[in-house]
C-alpha cells in the first residue's frame, strides 16, 4: 500500500504549470512577432488582470468588498507623475514610488474603513477614494483638476527604451509600449505567483478560514483583524504599482480618469464576478471574457455598459461562482489548487 501524503498538487495543476511557464515565455518574446496594436491590447489585458487579482484577493478571499480601489490606482499613478515631474526620477524607477504611495494611503484608509462593516465598508472605501481624487485635484503642480502629461525628455530618456528601440528596430513610441508591456507582464506574473504563494501559506489557509467562518476561525486562534490588514495593504500596494504602470504607458493623467470608479473598480469587479470570485483562475478567464465583450460592443457606448451591468447581475444571481465555477463543477479541474489533499492509498468511507 502506498503511504499517504499531503499535497496540493493535482495532475491538472502540473500540466497547467508547464503550459503556464511556456505561455509566459511566449508572452515575453511576443514583441518579436506581435503588432503594436496587439501589444497594446495585451498590455490592457495584463493590467486589468493584475487589478482583478488584487480585488479578488480582497473581496473573494478577504471578504473585504471595496469599491474604492480607484484610490490606489490614482494615487499610484500620481506618485509616478510626481516622482518624474517634481523629483526628476526615471519613470520606470518611479513605479516603486507608486506602490509606496498606495501603501501610505492604505494605512489611514484601512484605519477608517475597518470601522465599517460589510456594505458600509464598501461605500467607506469609495468615500476615501473621492477624498483622494478631490485632494489631488487641488495639487496645482500636477495640473490640478485638468491633469498633466509626463515630460517628453523624461519619456525619451527612460531606461531601456533606447535598447529596445535598437533590438526590435522600432521607433521610440513603440519601444515605450514594449517596455510598458514587459512591466505589465512581469507585474501580472508576479501577482499571480505571489497571491498563489500567499494562499498556500499557513496564513493563506487562515484567510480561507476567516472568509468561510469568522467565528470558527477566531476560535481556532486565527487573528482575523491582522489578516484583514495584511490583505488590504498587499492589495493596495499591488493596485498602486499597477496604477503606476498603466499611467506610465498612458503618459497623460487627470484626477477624473485616474480615480475613475468605472474604469478601475466597476470593470474589475465585473471581471472577477463573471470569471469566478474566490479563485485565481476566475479573474484570468474573466479578463478574457471582458476583453472579448469590449472588442465586440465598445462601439455601442452606453449600451455596452448596460449589457456589462446586466451580465454581471445575471451571473451573480444564477451562477455566483462565475465561468470558472461552471467549468470546475463540470470537470473538477483545478489549475491553482489551494486545498491540501490526501494522496496515496485509498480513502474508504
Amino acid at each position: 500500500m502506498t503511504p499517504y501524503a499531503v499535497s496540493t498538487r493535482t495532475p491538472a495543476s502540473s500540466v497547467a504549470l508547464t503550459l503556464g511557464i511556456a505561455l509566459v515565455v511566449v508572452l515575453y518574446v511576443a514583441p518579436l512577432f506581435a503588432s503594436r496594436g496587439l501589444i497594446q491590447d495585451l498590455f490592457f489585458i495584463l493590467t486589468m488582470l493584475t487589478l482583478a487579482q488584487f480585488w479578488n484577493l480582497l473581496a473573494g478571499y478577504g471578504g473585504l468588498v471595496s469599491v474604492g480601489q480607484q484610490a490606489f490606482v490614482g494615487i499610484g499613478a500620481y506618485a509616478l507623475f510626481g516622482g518624474v515631474i517634481l523629483g526628476a526620477m526615471d519613470p520606470v524607477a518611479a513605479i516603486l514610488l507608486s506602490g509606496v504611495a498606495a501603501l501610505v494611503l492604505a494605512i489611514p484608509t484601512a484605519f477608517f474603513a475597518f470601522r465599517l462593516q460589510g456594505a458600509y465598508f464598501a461605500i467607506g472605501t469609495w468615500v476615501i477614494a473621492e477624498v483622494a481624487r478631490l485632494s489631488i485635484a487641488q495639487w496645482k503642480a500636477l495640473g490640478g483638476g485638468t491633469g498633466t502629461s509626463l515630460p517628453r525628455e523624461a519619456m525619451r530618456e527612460m531606461m531601456l527604451t533606447d535598447w529596445i528601440g535598437t533590438v526590435f528596430d522600432v521607433r521610440a513610441s513603440a519601444a515605450r509600449d514594449i517596455l510598458a508591456y514587459w512591466l505589465a507582464l512581469t507585474l501580472a506574473v508576479a501577482t499571480i505567483a505571489g497571491i498563489y504563494w500567499l494562499l498556500r501559506t499557513k496564513r493563506g489557509l487562515a484567510l480561507a478560514a476567516v472568509r468561510d467562518n469568522m467565528e470558527a476561525a477566531k476560535s481556532v486562534g486565527v487573528d482575523a483583524s491582522r489578516m484583514k490588514w495584511v490583505v488590504f495593504l498587499t492589495s493596495a500596494f499591488g493596485t498602486g504599482v499597477a496604477g503606476g504602470v498603466i499611467y506610465l504607458q498612458k503618459a497623460r493623467i487627470s484626477p477624473d480618469a485616474a480615480f475613475s470608479v468605472t474604469d478601475w473598480t466597476a470593470y474589475v469587479i465585473f471581471i472577477v464576478v463573471i470569471g469566478g470570485i474566490g479563485t485565481i483562475e476566475g479573474p484570468i478567464l474573466g479578463v478574457l471574457a471582458f476583453f472579448l465583450l469590449q472588442s465586440l460592443l465598445s462601439d455601442y457606448g452606453s449600451w455596452y455598459l448596460m449589457i456589462l451591468g446586466l451580465i454581471g447581475i445575471v451571473v451573480m444571481l444564477f451562477a455566483p461562482r462565475g465561468l470558472w465555477g461552471l467549468i470546475s463543477d463540470r470537470t473538477g479541474l483545478q489549475l491553482f489548487p489551494i486545498r491540501r489533499r490526501l494522496t496515496g492509498g485509498k480513502i474508504e468511507d
Binding site: F112, A122, V131, W303, G309, G312, M316, L317
Partner: protein
Amino acid sequence: MIWVDTLVQGILLGGLYALFAAGLSLVFGIMRLVNLAHGDLIVLGAYLILVVVSATGMNPIFAAAVAAPVMFAIGWTLQKVVLNRTLGEDILPPLLVTFGLSIVLQNALLEGFSADSQRIGFGALETASVPLGPVTVGVLPLMTFGTAVLTILVLNQIFYRTAIGRAFRATSDDATTASLMGIRPARVFATATGLAMVVVTIAALYLGTRANFDPSIGPARLIYAFEAVIIGGLGSLWGTLAGGIIIGVAQTLGAAINPEWQILAGHLAFLIVLLVRPRGLFPRGKD
C-alpha cells in the same frame, strides 16, 4: 452675519441629504441591504417627474405624486424579483447586484435622456425667498427641510404605529418566526423597498427642482446619503437628519472658504465623525 447665513443654508441643505438618506436607512434597517443603486434611483425618480411635467405641464409636486406609485411599483418589483434572491449571510451578492444595477440605470438614463443637464421647472418658487430672522432663505430650500422633517415623522409613525410597521420590525428581528405569524418576509421586504422608493421620489422632486441633474450624478448622492446615515447612527431616522445637517453645513462652510472645497469638506466632516464616534452620533442597540 455671512457665517450665520452660511450655517442656515447648510442646515437647509442637510434636509435634502436627509431625504436622500431616509430611503437608504429604511431599507438597511429592515433587511440589512445596502442598495448601491440608491443614488441612481433618485436620479431615475427625477427623470420620471421631469417626463410627467413635460408631458402634462402639471406642477412638479403633483407630478411627483404621479411618479410615486410608479416608483413604488418599481421598488416592489425590483425587491421581489431580484434583490430578495441576494439576501443572506453573504454580503457579496446584494452589493454586486446593486452595483451592477447602478451601472445599468446610469447608462439606461444616458441612452434615454442624453448626458445634457436637465432641471424641473418650479416657476417663481425657484427664486422666491423669505426673511428668516437675520437671514434670507430660499423658499425651496425651506420646503425641502420641512419635507424632510415631515417625511421622517411619517416614516416613524408608520414604523412604530401601524400593522405594516410591526411587520417590518418583526421580520427584521427574525424572518422565520415572522413567517409563523402569517407574514411573508419576501413580500414585507418588497413593500419596504416600495416605500423607500416613495421617499426616493420625494427626494427626487427636490433634487430636480433645486439644481441641474444628469444621469451621472447618482453615485455622489448615494455617498452623501450614506454619510448622513453613518453619522446619525444606523437605524435612527432623526440621527440621519442630524447627519444630513452635518454634511450640509460642512459643505456650505467649505464652499464659503473656497468653492472647490465644498464636496471635500463634507467628506472630511464624515471622516472626522467616524474617527471620534465610530458608531455614529445616535447609535441604537444592535449593529
